[in-house]
């Protein structure tokens, strides 16, 4: 026996109801987008408590302005750009660079030690989600921003350039360096894990 009437409402209907102040509609919109918004904040900040605060702030900003939403762009696009802005604002407040300076000198800790044989470890196959998360957490803030926006969230370089306030070329090179760093980190983690067992 299959349930004949799945009494559901669409996102567009939820938006219209939310404009009337209907709590249930806000809750539906929240549940539809909470994971993407929270995960974005978590990846960028690497701190669950701060990520919760910022996800909350992003939703509040959006819901306060929902009556002005006319559907020119997708609701999700609107929300995600707003989330990115909230996060970037927070990073600026903390005085962290949104893009790394090309000349930035890397500290010893940032570069995994090569003598542990990490270079011989291969990544081929698949990457563990948790290891990738941890590797991203270790990225310097600027690299992290561009990598998360581009490779995790799917923003284009021109959008990132606009959001972050850098050139498109800058965004591309930061992304490339971030990936190279992640590769090193992941190899290092694998070597370390192999050494432990």
């Amino acid at each position: 026996m299959t349930d004949p009437k799945p009494g559901s409402i669409t996102e567009a209907e939820a938006i219209e109801r939310a404009k009337q102040g209907d709590e249930a509609a806000f809750e539906i919109l929240y549940h539809l987008h909470k994971r993407r918004v929270y995960s974005l904040c978590l990846r960028m900040l690497s701190n669950p408590a701060q990520a919760e605060d910022l996800a909350q702030e992003a939703f509040l900003q959006l819901f306060r302005k929902i009556s002005t939403f006319r559907g020119e762009s997708a609701f999700s696009t609107w929300l995600h750009r707003m989330t990115v802005n909230v996060v970037l604002m927070q990073l600026r407040k903390k005085g962290l660079p949104l893009v790394s300076l090309e000349e930035t000198l890397e500290t010893e800790e940032e570069t995994p030690k090569k003598e542990l044989g990490a270079q011989d470890v291969k990544l081929t196959g698949s990457i563990d989600r948790l290891q990738l998360q941890r590797a991203i957490d270790r990225l310097p803030p600027g690299y992290k921003t561009v990598f998360v926006l581009h490779d995790v969230e799917g923003f284009e370089h021109n959008e990132i350039a606009e959001l972050v306030g850098c050139s498109i070329g800058n965004s591309k090179s930061q992304l490339h360096k971030a990936r190279l760093k992640l590769r090193d980190y992941l190899k290092f983690m694998r070597a370390e894990k192999a050494g432990n067992t």
Binding site: D22, E27, S39, E52, F63, T124, V152, S173, R179
Partner: protein, 236 residues
């Protein structure tokens, strides 16, 4: 093409641009070929991290409390009928949601507001009240009348105790109306978490710099917030 040239064109390669010269090099160079496939793998696997994590339920509790306080959410009777998803929550006592949120906010307040340096002979300043953060909506938490007491610390504590005990009484009477059989259970749980708060607060008053005690106080408030939230979800 040489290995060094690969580094130069790589950023474009991963964006799925075709490059015949590069392809030829990759076929003959295992090192570059592995590098390119690793970077592509990282890029593609990163996608699975989008929307990978679930925020704690308290995030929605806080958002809803704030929206209600700002009037963005209007009372249910003024709005169009709610869909089935939330109608299961039949508590009319909407005050409870912001109280739970305020308790959590109180907990985070303890983290961010460490006591000021001690003046000799003076007791530690109040570290928290569940209703303390200015960002909380004014109408959400019962306001206790300012207590007339000898020291500010005592006044603050009494204020907190009165406000919190008024909420607790309202909470328990709501539980007994809805589920008389559950009253004793909730009363016992409430006593436990209040004891935890009381003990941790007293210890912290004596040892204002004790990070461990501060952490216990935060956790005690979180336990109480969970109890309130649980009543909302489970006592119908």
């Amino acid at each position: 093409m040489k290995c060094a040239d690969v580094q130069r064109v790589l950023p474009e390669v991963i964006e799925n641009r075709q490059d015949g010269e590069l392809e030829a090099h990759l076929k003959s160079c295992p090192a570059c070929s592995e590098l390119v496939s690793d970077l592509k793998l990282i890029s593609s696997e990163a996608r699975q991290l989008s929307a990978s994590d679930e925020p704690a339920p308290r995030v929605w509790v806080r958002i809803a409390a704030e929206l209600r306080a700002e009037g963005v959410i209007r009372e249910p009777e003024a709005a169009t009928p709610a869909p089935a998803t939330t109608s299961r929550r039949s508590w009319s006592a909407w005050w409870l949601v912001p109280v739970a949120a305020a308790l959590l906010a109180g907990a985070s307040y303890i983290v961010t507001h460490k006591p000021a340096p001690q003046v000799a002979g003076q007791q530690g300043p109040a570290v928290t009240t569940p209703a303390a953060p200015a960002s909380q909506p004014p109408a959400t938490v019962a306001q206790a009348p300012a207590a007339k007491a000898s020291s500010p610390q005592n006044a603050k504590n009494r204020e907190v105790a009165e406000a919190s005990s008024a909420e607790d009484q309202q909470f328990l009477s709501e539980v007994s109306q809805r589920a008389p059989g559950m009253r004793v259970t909730y009363e016992n749980q409430l006593r436990s978490v209040n004891n935890y708060i009381r003990d941790a607060q007293a210890y912290l008053d004596q040892n204002p710099d004790d990070e461990d005690a501060r952490q216990h106080l935060i956790e005690a408030y979180q336990q109480k917030a969970m109890l309130y939230q649980m009543a909302l979800d489970h006592v119908q």
